[in-house]
Symmetry: C2
Subunit: 172 residues, 2 copies
DNA sequence: AATGATTTATTTATCAATCAATAAATAAGA
DNA sequence: TCTTATTTATTGATTGATAAATAAATCATT
């Protein structure tokens, strides 16, 4: 029988796709449990409530994006382009996670909103620092633009409006 | 006693703020009814279901943003700046409506998503056309960037991260 | 103008469904 | 046997929605 940590891991993994596809409110703990091959009440053995489960899922998804940017090391004049490509790659390999992260700001649960706030701030700060260290002028503005582009890509994906991203990513 | 259309109007008006403040799923028809000074079932006398009510609310909010841009007439070299200022003004005068529109893409109700898609497309097309007619190069890309900035402002507002919008709006 | 009939507006009461969460019971392994 | 892992059974709370009842307004007729 699978060890406790394994089961917890599986639940988080499956919850990512359930939350991503249905959104926080339409995703039920029963669905997550079913996907993970576990009974619904057993989810609450690992997470105090639905909110805590979602936070764990967000940490997982955010972490992947954070790590993707963190490990990039390119010369200043290619940094933004390289990071842009890296982001596009994450979107392809972990589409659900990225879309979920970029839509999380719309969840009106106070605890979640605060958590999401911290995660966005962490990403923004690390982007700013990276750009600043690379000697890129207006590092913060560039970081903000980077996030704004991510949001735009998400809306284009979710609403199936590819026109919105035609030519996006060509420059900074 | 208020005429039928008046009541419907009042319900939409109050529903805007309820939906904006609580989000689609956490907003209940009972709350909307209470704010409008009406009983909960009576809301269903005007709208077939919660979804239809929300669509009406979205039309109202989107319409305001659309009209704001539509009536702007400025020389090409000042158009984007003028429109940016106009948008900032709408955010101040009708904050709830703007934030709601910019977050609507995260609602996972199929009917709503399709409606939101059409509204976003309408705005994007009209922005593109306006920029194109003004002789602005890369009109579509500019329109997309405009929307992306709106999304960024929304996230900054909702998550209380003013750093994200420091310096945003200074250029195109 | 007063009265009664008829339609329109609005409420009370309630249903059926869903869901997160708890508690108690059982199975498995050490 | 004792602990850990997991399930069954159940609950309490919400919520969108419906149906039946009431009140208010409108209108026709005397």
């Amino acid at each position: 029988m699978a060890a406790r940590e394994d089961k917890k891991e599986i639940i988080i993994e499956k919850a990512v796709s359930v939350f991503a596809q249905r959104g926080y409110y339409k995703a039920t703990t029963a669905m997550v449990a079913k996907e993970a091959g576990v009974t619904q009440p057993y989810v609450f053995h690992f997470f105090a409530n639905k909110e805590e489960l979602f936070k764990a899922v967000m940490d997982r998804a955010f972490g992947r994006i954070y790590d993707t940017f963190a490990k990039i090391d390119a010369p200043a004049d290619q940094l933004i382009e390289t990071m842009g490509h890296a982001f596009e790659e994450v979107i392809q390999t972990h589409r659900d996670e990225v879309l979920m992260v970029m839509q999380a700001h719309a969840i009106s649960e106070e605890g979640i909103r605060e958590h999401v706030r911290k995660l966005f701030k962490t990403i923004f700060d690390s982007l700013s620092l990276k750009f600043e260290r690379a000697g890129i002028p207006e590092a913060e503005k560039t970081a903000a633009h980077f996030i704004g582009t991510g949001l735009l890509i998400t809306v284009a994906e979710v609403l199936d409006l590819p026109q919105l991203t035609k030519g996006v990513g060509d420059d900074g």
